[in-house]
């Protein structure tokens, strides 16, 4: 990330006139609304999360300081650890599934040929639809009586009687995976495509002259040169999946038998269903540490190739 600002290339005549330096201060006014919003809706809530996590904090009534009590309770909260384990499992599976679909699509739409733009647009469309809309749509398609999949399979004679995809863990879980891949693959495809297009064409041509086959070229040229792109696509997918909520809430309500409660879902339940705000804050702190650690890995993976800046 280029977060180093260019203070050194300010106008050279600066300081020669008396008004010039005061004029620079006006910059503070320009950024003030943004900073104010970040303070009110981000910095203060962040501090409060840390503060609340040390309290017993019901929605109504007085809150009381309990030190690390919430964190000790988390250690014994097997349902939270189950939710965390399920979230990790989901993240791994869905990320693999997205890449398995998105990478071939990226290779397919990378080269310009007739209709490529149309294909790109078609593959990308589900990505601009919201997760909530996609979940509502698929909750209908997956419905046993009024939906599409089960009745269609029944009509085609593939199954003897209608099968409820959402009643048991395995079919329900894979239904969600299918829906998320449908929604996200186009997005990942565009990112991977940008990476593919940034590989110099002459490098591939030189390898062809040297007699390298398509697989050897893919391994020796495409993959290494796409390291940063792959890392970015990977991180976006992982970070998004760890925070998954909409699809599990809307399609499965955390079921069947609470087996698909994700970390965010569990925090939501503790904070806004059971109204244990302090405990929810402590759970949030745990999630936050996981994600900040992930961001640091991200910065490392996305570092510029050595020698290049």
């Amino acid at each position: 990330m280029t977060i180093i600002t260019d203070a050194t290339i300010a106008p050279p005549r600066l300081g020669k006139r008396a008004g010039a330096s005061r004029r620079q201060w006006i910059g503070l006014l320009y950024v003030a609304p943004a900073v104010a919003l970040v303070v009110v809706f981000f910095l203060i809530p962040l501090g409060m999360t840390a503060w609340m996590s040390l309290h017993n904090w019901p929605l109504m009534g007085e809150h009381s300081y309990i030190g690390l009590g919430n964190y000790v309770a988390i250690l014994r909260d097997t349902r939270f650890w189950n939710a965390l384990r399920f979230t990790a499992y989901y993240t791994v599976i869905v990320t693999i599934a997205i890449f398995v679909v998105a990478f071939p699509l990226a290779l397919f739409v990378e080269r310009p040929r007739p209709l490529t733009n149309l294909y790109r647009t078609m593959f990308f469309m589900p990505a601009v639809v919201g997760f909530a809309s996609a979940s509502l749509l698929w909750s209908w398609l997956l419905n046993v009586d009024s939906g599409l999949f089960s009745p269609a399979a029944y009509d085609l004679g593939l199954i003897d009687r209608k099968f409820n995809l959402l009643a048991t863990f395995q079919p329900a879980f894979w239904s969600i995976i299918a829906m998320v891949v449908w929604k996200v693959a186009g997005f990942t495809m565009i990112i991977l495509m940008a990476g593919l297009q940034s590989i110099p064409q002459d490098l591939q041509e030189a390898a062809v002259i040297d007699g390298a086959g398509p697989f050897a070229r893919f391994r020796a040229i495409t993959l290494p040169l796409m390291r940063r792109t792959l890392a970015l696509a990977l991180i976006l997918s992982v970070a998004g999946s760890i925070l998954a909520f909409d699809q599990f809430y809307i399609i499965l309500r955390g079921g069947p038998r609470n087996q698909t409660l994700t970390a965010v879902y569990w925090i939501f339940n503790q904070s806004f269903v059971s109204f244990k705000l302090g405990y929810g804050a402590a759970l949030s702190m745990v999630l936050l540490v996981v994600l900040v650690a992930l961001s640091l890995v991200q910065l490392w993976l996305l570092r510029k190739p050595e020698g290049l800046d």
Binding site: V35, L37, F41, T49, F108, G130, W140, S146, I190
Partner: protein, 285 residues
């Protein structure tokens, strides 16, 4: 002979490629098309499995009418969603253009600190600070108001949109400002009259992302809007789909999903190149 064979092979390869492309396109478009078409069935037919997806017993808007009769109605939620999305677009554009200009063109104390502070918010998921946001809004008297939700959404957009606008302003040559300054233009006139047209593509990009972000957001709206009259479309539709208003009417769900998807698709198709630009700008940072 050999030439004909190779031409045949090329033709076969091309047919293979395009059939792959067409089949994949159909798979990606199918769920959307299915919902949009099914929504036009009469209520009786919409309850049946959608085979075929198009209405067979006549075209009807019954599902949209039914949808409007649940709770406070489709129209109230749609208005809430439109209000929240438009306000998010307007405010995030104003705040980001000002901040992008400030960060690009001025030197002032704590400049780097503020810039890093704004960008670093992207590292912390808002899902983990929702409870205190709820309490802050209550303190500010914005509890359960659409305005409060807009404030949250605008803040969520800032890291991306300020980064975008700072880069857009950085790309404008300084000579242009120098010339305008000679003509006696003040800072604000310069920004509005001279600079804004030059960074306009960036403005369209951040507006598009702000709209899609606000229109589609679910969790914050679910937590912060407790009164039915304040529900946005995703929250209202989820309440309906969960059976909160009685037996689930799948026809109404199809109609609601259509209303939620169509604005996003139209905006995307119309402004595709701005969307891809934004994605790339985010990707290469």
């Amino acid at each position: 002979m050999a030439q004909a064979a190779s031409r045949n092979r090329r033709l076969a390869a091309r047919i293979g490629e395009h059939s792959t492309g067409i089949i994949a396109s159909v798979l990606f478009a199918a769920p959307i098309v299915w919902a949009v078409l099914s929504a036009f069935k009469p209520a009786q037919e919409a309850r049946q499995p959608p085979l075929p997806p198009w209405p067979t017993s006549g075209f009807s808007l019954e599902n949209y009418a039914t949808l409007n009769s649940f709770g406070d109605g489709l129209w109230v939620s749609a208005q809430n969603s439109i209000y929240v999305s438009v306000m998010t677009v307007v405010l995030s554009v104003i705040v980001s253009v000002l901040a992008g200009y400030g960060f690009s063109r001025f030197r002032f104390p704590f400049k780097d600190l503020f810039f890093i502070l704004i960008l670093s918010t992207i590292m912390i998921p808002f899902q983990s600070i929702l409870t205190p946001i709820f309490l802050v809004l209550t303190k500010l008297g914005l509890h359960n108001t659409l305005t409060g939700l807009v404030g949250v959404y605008v803040t969520l957009q800032l890291p991306f949109s300020i980064f975008m606008m700072r880069n857009a302003f950085d790309a404008v040559p300084r000579e242009i400002e120098e010339a305008a300054r000679m003509d006696g233009a003040s800072n604000l006139t310069m920004l509005l009259k001279v600079m804004l047209p030059l960074v306009w593509p960036g403005v369209v990009t951040i507006a598009l992302f702000a709209f899609l972000g606000a229109w589609n957001e679910f969790l914050a709206a679910l937590v912060l809007m407790t009164d039915q009259s304040k529900f946005t479309l995703p929250v209202m539709m989820t309440a309906l789909q969960s059976g909160r208003f009685g037996a689930i009417d799948w026809g109404a769900v199809q109609a609601g999903v259509t209303v939620m998807m169509v604005p996003c698709l139209i905006l995307f198709l119309a402004l595709q190149r701005f969307y891809i630009r934004g994605l790339m700008a985010g990707a290469v940072k």
